[in-house]
Amino acid sequence: MDDLLQEFIAETRETLEALSGEIVMWEAAPSDRQRLDAIFRFVHTVKGSCGFLDLPRLSRLSHAAEDALAAVRSGERVPDTALVNAVLAIVDRIGEIIEAIDAGAALDDSGEDLLIAALAPGHATPEPIATSEAAPLPMVQRAATRSVRLNVDLLDRMMSGMSEMVLARNELARRLRDTGVEPAVEAALERLSHTVAEMRDTVTRTRMQKIDALFSALPRMVRDTAAELGKTVLLSIEGSEVELDREMIEMMRDPLVHIIRNAIDHGIESPAERRAVGKREHGRLVVSARQSGNQIIVEIIDDGRGIDTGRLIAKYAAISGRSERELAGLSDRAKAELVFEPGLSSKDKATSISGRGVGMDVVRANIEQIGGRIELNSTFGKGLAITIHVPLTLSIIPTIVVGVKGQRFALPRQAVEEIVRVRGDAIRVDMLGDTPIATVRERRLPMIALDAMLGLADRAADPVMLAIVAVAGGSYALAVDEVHDTEELVIKPAPPAVMATGLYAGQTLPDTGRPMLLLDGSGLAAKAGLRFGRAAPEDIVEAAPAGAPALTTLLFIDLDGVRRAVPLDVVDRVEPATASAVRFTAAKLRLTIDGSVVPLATLAGDAAQALIAARPSISVLRMADGLAEIGYPIAEAMDIVEIAEPMLPAAVAGPIAGLVMVEGEPVELLDVHWLFAHAADEHVASQAPPLCLFAGGEARWMENFLRPVLEASGYRVASALPAGEAPAVVLAMEGDEIAVDAPVVRLRAEVAGRGRRDSIYRYDRSALLAAVAARAGEAA
């Protein structure tokens, strides 16, 4: 029975911890079924276990809460603040009773009836929380069951013992290898290695904790604090999964709580005030954590009133004896940072929430104690952003191990964008005077040769591998000899003599047993004199020698099923076309599309028409040189590819300019110049567009029906011949007598041709346009 009870206590406690966030989220979105279910499950489980374990009080409370929540689940009740408060109060009470049972202490049961009564519909007083807090609580000692609190010292010792073990294993392995051993011994050693590695992992992890451990309590705290002050605050939390040294998390707990309470108390205004200044009634509070280089950055941002520096200065002048005028001369940032001076609070009266004699000075001292720093960014009236930087030292960070002149260094993986091998034109290093510059796929980056930088080589050898390192404001290429592998390493602070170089961020002892230094990406950049300002990267790009520009091409499948490419720039668009819109007219393959006729170029030659007809649909690459337009029928467009390597020119001039390599395969590149020269209709730039003359009895119909069609295709249209001009083509109905000496396109009114075969049904737009184009071509 005792075991069961312990199990129940531990489980309930764990669930309670996990639940506190859910409850608040439920309150924010009462219709959120998932949250509701989670809470319901909790009280339901407690109720079930209580009956079994004979705990009548818990049973009564959980039963009442379950009933109320069941009503909400079935839709009979709508969750309101009163209900949420009442359920919260009961959940709290369950927690208190659990602790009391665990400690074997007695807990007064007064007020429990009130808690249950508060669940009743229409009971709208939020009092129950107060009642439960007012109830005299015995100091209950938490007896740990599932988790043990450990001194970090002990963990440190465990960690160093572990490393010792790894080194001993390595030594043993080396010696055994030297003497040559039986397979059985080797297998045993293998097993030992495996176990040691696993242990090391576990032990390492004992020091690390997700920052969630710090953040998970925030929703509840924010809710309670805000409720107490009559404010509403929406909290969003980001980056809970960032891992941080346990010790750091503990050290950050108090400062974080203090900052958040401050933000809600002093920063965020009351709903009425917020309305008055045109803000939303809900204050917003964002707490986020992220890893940046060698630091963990925790940001607390509110949209409250910010720091009133004027009042701050007045107060500080009063307590420090410095003149207000002198203080007014400080920079904005320095003014805001007066908040950190002892004995100061920007708010006039201390409240129960903040201002309990613990000021921001203590917060700053705490942060600095763990080697961090705190920054303020206040916009008066708009809000305050507090940024806490804590070092990554003592944390485990993923690194990339690089080698230069035989020595290995670690680079924080987060700072490395990519690793590339210098090869070909796409990734190369050029000298700008004496300054190397790396070109990585069109991107020009300043380069630092690690060996020369560290003084390991007088003259930088030709770079082999480049690690692209991102630093604040830009990136640079770090030339190294080798890239070994990625490794998760425990980084320890390096002694001052090492840190003073500005090149390293810490030291570590990897499995090899040889100490290794962690490079500081921004330190290297600073040492090399790289300046990433607003304009700097652009300057570099402009100053760089123009390498062979990569050619962007469109890869397509031609009518004959062969992959070919065409420079993308000359392709206006790719359009689907039907086979029937392609006709062989006036010695050229032409496409009628969108009411215009486009000459087509193709490699397929005479077979083109058959190939086109064989396909249900084709696409046409429409290309224009500014004057003429041609089309190139293809089976389908595939992809846009960059071709960095130079083209292999074709031996003879023709529709193929040469070969380019695409994914390791040679692909023919179209010679657009040749295509235009051969396919485009000779353009008569100096002349006006060809004139179409409407003649005969149906000229009026043509005027009304055909004028827009022909004009859209680039013809001029006239019903009466302007003086001194000859029409390029004359349109007339079958049988009309034509007096003008010009090619004639005959139209007919019936669909099926009865008379002359060369007449065209007058509503067959494509055929009409094709015929006009063909005849106009003859004239020209």
């Binding site: 790894v166 560290l454 003084g455 001052p496 003599a497 003073a500 230094l517």
Partner: protein, 142 residues
């Protein structure tokens, strides 16, 4: 006041080191250089599971460097970091009285910074040194 001192030889001179400052005495393990850290630091070495910074004691004292690689060192812990102070050899551990430097004695050169007093062994006076003074990069922090 009598304290335990470690008697060692640095740059051919016998010196006394307060045993409170000494963690252990070791053979210098394989050293990984620290590019850019200056001559006073040989580099880093792994000593059991700890990384220690190996100090070139002669250079730290402003003396010409040893012609051969360091053999022995005493380990000291300063401000949370472990350092290996290289020595020529270790001779003795014994209790001595720390005496002030004799009046009028001006210690010359780099020794001056490290001098903490003197002890007398078998009638021979020798310099007692403070290891902290040998660590580069601490001056500003101290």
């Amino acid at each position: 006041m009598t304290k335990l001192f470690l008697i060692a030889r640095i740059a051919g001179r016998p010196v006394a080191i307060d045993s409170d400052q000494v963690d252990s005495a070791v053979d210098v393990p394989e050293i990984t250089p620290i590019p850019g850290a200056g001559d006073a630091v040989y580099g880093l070495a792994a000593l059991r599971s700890r990384v220690v910074t190996v100090i070139n004691t002669c250079i730290a004292l402003g003396l010409p460097p040893l012609p051969h690689p360091p053999q022995r060192a005493v380990i000291t812990r300063i401000d949370g970091h472990h350092y290996a102070i290289t020595v020529d050899q270790l001779e003795d551990v014994a209790p001595f009285d720390l005496l002030p430097l004799a009046e009028g004695v001006a210690i010359e050169g780099g020794w001056a910074r490290a001098a903490a007093g003197l002890i007398v062994r078998d009638g021979d006076p020798m310099l007692a040194i403070d290891l902290r003074a040998l660590i580069p990069g601490l001056a500003a922090a101290a």
